[in-house]
Homo-oligomer: 321 residues x 2
């Protein structure tokens, strides 16, 4: 256990020092002085080796992803990420592994001014649990509930690349070697859409981040909002790598059901559409309108303006009729 | 993964509904509206099966202990426990196991009005990470730093019973069968000293909870406060079970170096001593003065008013001269 104490010193090397952190790493607890009249937004995500990332994933990527999946949840609420607590279970202490892991954690934290305020280091099979917290002005946050029939459905970035990378790693698909690095980057280094989340906070009617796949996560919005939706398959944002390497049908299927995209899916009313699109103009993130909410309580899809039936494994949580 | 979604429903059965929880379990994040002009106190602790509890520990005890070790950290800061996030990694889904586990979590949470606001359920080797949060009035919290030479050293409850229970489970010591249940209770169901922590918040100069053992944790206070301490071994609070079952030397050694007590260790100035003792009168928790802080930067012990040398395994973090 003595050596595990040393790890604390690893984690106390972070450069970010926020003014609202009264007491950081090193005591029984951290102490935070949040600004008055703000809500605190809290999320916890665990990554288990071999389940949430392939066993041979680089330590830096594991560090990045552990933070990214949590910041992605905060982004879906429109929150400003502020503090994380990191609980890591390690089979052995490997200094070079830890150095790279911390690099992945710290680089992303630094970008968003997120301070590591504490955590726990234990011995056991590799797994990382991060609790991330952020701030929103009181009363101003996004949730899965709130989508209304007629609202437009948007998604950030491009869909399915992470799932394609995983298929490649598992030997299920062959890719042109020129594309392998770029596609692995999408799996290993997801970019949480923090700035988009903050920008749409006052315009969008609902939001979620895409971790399980578009259909599955859209199902969560539909369930929480008591609505249905139609996805225009022609409109799905597919990367050049996808379009150049696999059949369109397979690409659409990956975009609909592949997990690990960590893009934002959100809805906006007709009235707020222009305001939202204008607000997003100053960001470089691609945003695509991919369909519309309706009152059907089912999820449908169209291609070339015709209804088309889909069958996807990501579609678990929301009963389609 | 579908089944793991179901677990969420298990965890949403909690009775506690706090007014400051704007959005609880079920969205991408929880949303909290903390009262203005308060600090938020945050801690994270992981329990790994076979490391932090014996493999045959009852699910209810595991649930209780997962919460208790975190509330104990909050108690050491003098905080009011408020919200927890629970990340649990399970090898398989066992409904009766989960029912009992939740019972352990919920009973303790209910007692202190703590709401489970979210978490994550994943598949893998059994481990539980809880992030617990509490509130203190702004500027009013305890830490390990602040002990001054002349301050009196106090501890709650009785020491060493949990370590004795572990020795018994490991077959290292035989206990009269009448005592086995009672002593196992001390290991499995530690009582976080939440009310003591809140009561001493405005009187104590430093505090820590005893997880690694008295000497080790006193070392943390000494290091953070840049002081030393003398422990009066005659004063150590030993349980009747300890006194009746093992040699005094062994009992003292367990009290000094045994872990898992989750009692509070704190210091108070001569000026605040009477105020603190008076404030504690309305609580039923036993509190014992066991020594005094000095300027030596070492930890010493006395027995019958004479210095006595100790050699204990718990004494890792603070260099004794």
């Amino acid at each position: 256990m003595k050596e595990f104490e040393l790890i604390k010193h690893f984690f106390s090397q972070q450069k970010v020092k926020r003014k609202d952190v009264v007491l950081g790493i090193g005591d029984d607890c951290a102490v935070i002085a949040p600004v008055n009249n703000h809500h605190i937004v809290v999320t916890t995500d665990t990554l288990v080796a071999g389940v949430h990332f392939p066993l041979n994933t680089s330590p830096k990527a594991i560090g990045h992803k552990s933070v990214a999946v949590n910041l992605s949840d905060l982004a879906a609420m429109g929150a400003n990420p502020s503090w994380i607590s990191l609980a890591i279970t390690l089979p052995v202490i490997d200094e070079s592994w830890l150095t790279e892991f911390c690099q992945g954690v710290f680089e992303l934290c630094e970008f968003y001014n997120v301070q590591l305020i504490g955590g726990d280091t234990t011995q056991g099979p590799l797994s990382i649990t991060i609790t991330a917290q952020g701030l929103t002005p009181a009363g101003s946050y996004l949730s899965r509930a709130g989508a209304k029939p007629g609202d437009w459905l948007y998604v950030t970035g491009e869909l399915g690349d992470a799932a394609l990378a995983l298929q490649h790693i598992n030997g299920e698909v062959e890719l042109n070697s020129n594309f392998v690095e770029a596609i692995k980057e999408r799996l290993d280094y997801p970019a949480p859409r923090v700035l988009v989340g903050q920008t749409i906070r006052d315009y969008a009617s609902s939001a979620i981040d895409l971790s399980d796949g578009l259909i599955s996560d859209l199902g969560h919005i539909c369930q929480a909002s008591n609505v249905g939706a139609n996805i225009v398959l022609d409109a799905l944002p597919l990367s050049k790598i996808m379009r150049d390497n696999i059949l369109t049908d397979d690409a659409i299927n990956l975009a609909l059901s592949g997990g690990d995209d960590y893009e934002l899916l959100f809805t906006v009313s007709e009235d707020n559409k222009v305001g939202l699109e204008t607000a997003l103009l100053h960001l470089t993130t691609q945003v695509t309108c991919i369909g519309q909410i309706n009152a059907s309580k089912t999820i449908s899809t169209t291609l070339n303006n015709k209804p088309i039936s889909i069958n996807t494994a990501g579609f678990e949580h929301f009963t389609r009729k």
